[in-house]
Amino acid sequence: MTSAPTIHCFTSASFAYLDRVRILFQTLRQQHPDWLLWFCLIDKEPEGFHFDPKKENCDFVVRLEDLGIDDLTRWSFKHNVVELCTAVKGKMLCHILEKGAQKVFYLDPDIAVFSSLQPLVDQLDEKDVLLTPHLLHPEKELIGIADNEIGALKHGIFNLGFAAVSNRGDGPRFAEWWRDRLLQFCYEDVPNGIFTDQKWADHVPVFFPNMGIVFDEGYNVACWNLNYRPLSTDDQKNIRAGNKLLRFFHFTKVTWAGEIMLERYSRDRIEVFELLHWYRHQLTIHAPKNLPKNWWAYGIFNDGTRIEDWQRRAYRSHIGLQHQIMDPFAAGPEAFEAYRPAALSNP
């Protein structure tokens, strides 16, 4: 008799999202106390802030430096926080699969789990990779087409806030392909056809035919798909998305632009706002103490100056600059002045 396979789940984030990571792991633990949880930390502690991995509600903390990424300093400088936290996902997945995990889930840190994910674990017995599309139903109104359908064409058919992979068949091959692309091309560059890891995933149904699309409305519910899966409360007082039990909700950008989108597509269901209210309260409970506002270790030069997007773009697009400046963090902002775009020049 074989024992049930151990399920692994990982997320990646900077300290600014530590509150969200804690909510994700707490809600996931409630449903799956036996899963092994991994936190890939894309940050370093600022002065006066103490991070104790043992006190976090997870089994392993892997730091960016521990992932064995070649030429890490120059590589990391090329990415903003969203890009860098995403760029490590393939590498982390391979790392966990190499440790012998049979099934691995990735969940974005701003997700909260409300019901069991066991049906997906079971689907991984048949399928090698599972992905959730942004949308399951065509929009009917212009505003929804513009926001959601065209949004998905720009940013990817699948939302990569979730991915699940089996360590057999096409699973490892998918992981390696994903890892390699993300190490090279994980940027927010919609005009050039790339949006971090999401546009890459458009290839998955073709490259890895034994993948599965999750059509159940209860998974990865978010402002972009609420329009056609309105929330409601059932007789057992559980929350449903469309006709399905709510499994996990993706609280994208809820502290700013996300609320407007939630309002737009809430269908006036009070459950949407109750979830938002609950999540915001959880954020206050789980906020890390003494973390400076807007802190991100890879977002500043060594002298503390904030790294601008144009400086990152200049560095990644000028190979000469990459050869010239081996440690861009140490070089400081002055080293990039010659590359400042004309539009950003001081009058």
């Binding site: 057992q236 007082k237 809430s266 109750e274 209210h277």
Partner: protein, 544 residues
């Protein structure tokens, strides 16, 4: 200036008139006037001037023209409108509405309700144990006072969440009646209420730190630490006094300390189920203060996302322990309340009884229906507290929907007005006091209220307002799943009321002329509402 503003968006006078009509649909002069502090209302008493004021300067101060348009929300969610510098209502009427933009914050009232209530819940309350010297009394003095008051060796220790003489409500009324009833039998009545006000059980607090306010036979005598009561109870029992503890409410109290008090007495305690606080700290069984939930399984998503969910497990554990140790007699004000409590509480108890806190006697003769009633607008009222969970926002929505129908006039009968109501709802102040308990009924009669909407969101255990509405001769429309409201109609006069499942259904019903006719011609009777029994009657009947 207004004319110039509108003229720039229109081609001719007809278009301008049409635009003015559309804008006026979103303008409620009564509501708008209420947005100004009474002493600072500009010189604009005329409706025309009020409208002019809003269109030119009021919106810039963030004032909204009515409940139908939220200026601040519209500007905050439409930065392009801010950039244009255009009056936001004008933008909405000209462009925004067609583009699918929203005029008001979705579910604004409910969201405000749970955001504000959550703030109150999250306030941490410190038990200081400090007593204001002006209200402090010593154990010796307390002992002397109580001993002097005891004439028949019988003492009642009654515990509730507030000082019943300082606030007015169903529970407070009952306590007052009960105290007077015991006094008629010569029994001494000491009422105990906590002096710190969390909307929950008291945290783990010691008897020395837990300060309570005392009323002896109705008279305020001061504040003492709970430890004094423990000592006093032991002393009195030793002297042969018979002491009974009556718990009207556990909110703000420590069940563990009350257990200690009960254990020093020599009678089985009595616990009232005035609401469902013993099932959930959200005593009206509202998830996040807004959504009726019926106290579901504690592992449900409902409990997970509810402000009370986390506290509920500990709350239930403490109350379960309280009932297990004390095995009290339990009294509920209605069969509905008792059934719900028995079904969900699963607590230990000795006897369980229903003691209605008021009785309604309906007149045998139907009210004469004036022939013109059918032709006149029906008077539809919300009575009682203008708060969300007592159905105010649903009533307001109904009134706004049918304000211009000509079929209905809308009334609110309740405490004095603070702020503004929509102009379509006429407010009538009613001050119900202990000595004038029929104030609501007499006001209803005076203003010839035809229909009352009781859209309580709570699991009502009795509902005085439902009984008052029937006694006042109104046809009562109830939310079906609001605890005892619909059962009270069925029990007292089923022909004088009806139950509706959802808010959408309620609002749709009022559009139907046949329904209006049914309301106008429904047989209605007047009634008398009088205090019924209380703990004194029950004890005399069952224990002596």
């Amino acid at each position: 200036m207004l004319h110039e503003m509108l003229a720039s968006y229109t081609q001719n006078n007809d278009e301008e008139r049409l635009l003015l009509t559309k804008l006026n649909h979103y303008f409620d002069p009564v509501y708008y006037r209420g947005s100004y502090d009474y002493h600072h209302i500009p010189d604009m008493m005329e409706t025309r001037n009020l409208f002019h004021n809003f269109m030119t300067s009021g919106w810039k101060d963030g004032r909204s023209p009515s409940r139908l348009f939220d200026t601040i929300f519209y500007l905050s969610t439409n930065p392009d409108v801010v950039e244009l510098g255009i009056n936001p209502l004008l933008h909405y009427v000209l462009y925004g509405k067609k583009e699918g933009r929203r005029a008001i914050r979705p579910q604004a009232i409910l969201r405000q309700e749970f955001d504000e209530s959550a703030k109150i819940n999250q306030q941490s309350i410190q038990w200081t144990g400090e007593i204001d010297p002006a209200s402090a009394i010593t154990l010796e003095k307390l002992s002397t006072l109580i001993k002097a008051a005891i004439v028949q060796n019988r003492l009642l220790l009654s515990i509730s969440h507030d000082d019943y003489k300082m606030t007015f409500g169903g529970v407070q009324n009952l306590i007052e009646d009960e105290q007077l009833a015991f006094a008629r039998h010569g029994w001494t009545y000491l009422h105990i209420s906590p002096t710190v006000y969390p909307v929950a059980l008291a945290d783990d607090v010691t008897a020395d730190m837990f300060v309570v306010s005392l009323r002896l036979n109705g008279k305020l005598i001061g504040r003492v630490p709970f430890s004094y009561l423990l000592e006093l109870a032991s002393l009195l029992v030793k002297d042969g006094c018979q002491i009974t503890v009556i718990v009207h409410h556990l909110m703000r109290s420590s069940p563990e300390l009350i257990t200690q008090l009960i254990q020093r007495t020599n009678e089985r305690p009595i616990i009232w189920i005035h609401d469902l606080f013993s099932i959930c700290p959200s005593y009206s069984l509202l998830r996040n203060h807004v959504t009726p939930c019926g106290a579901p399984n504690m592992d449900s998503i409902s409990c997970m996302i509810c402000d009370f969910g986390k506290e509920r497990k500990n709350h239930i554990r403490r109350i379960q322990e309280f009932f297990r140790i004390n095995k009290p007699d339990v009294i509920a004000p209605s069969q509905t309340a008792l059934d719900k409590w028995l079904q969900q509480g699963h607590y230990a108890y000795d006897k369980a009884a229903v003691v209605p806190v008021a009785r309604l006697l309906m007149d045998n003769n139907p009210m004469p229906i004036p022939t013109q009633t059918v032709k006149k607008p029906l008077r539809v009222a919300h009575i009682g507290a203008r708060v969300f969970h007592k159905g105010w926002s649903t009533f307001e929505k109904l009134a706004l929907e049918y304000a211009d129908s000509g079929k209905y006039e809308f009334y609110q009968l309740g405490y004095a007005l603070i702020g503004s109501l929509p102009g379509c709802v006429k407010h009538i102040a009613v001050e119900t006091t202990h000595d004038n308990r029929d104030a609501m009924i007499s006001t209803m009669l005076k203003h010839r209220i035809d229909v009352v909407i009781n859209w309580s969101m709570c699991a009502e255990t009795f509902s005085f307002t439902a009984h008052e509405a029937l006694a006042g001769g109104a046809f009562l429309i109830a939310r079906k799943d609001a605890g005892n409201v619909w059962p009270a109609i069925q029990q007292n006069c089923p022909e004088q009321g009806m139950a509706v499942e959802t808010e959408e259904e309620l609002i749709a019903l009022f559009a139907d002329s046949k329904f209006t006719q049914k309301l106008a011609t429904a047989p209605r009777r007047l009634g008398f509402l009088f205090p019924a029994e209380n703990t004194a009657h029950w004890i005399m009947k069952t224990r002596n």
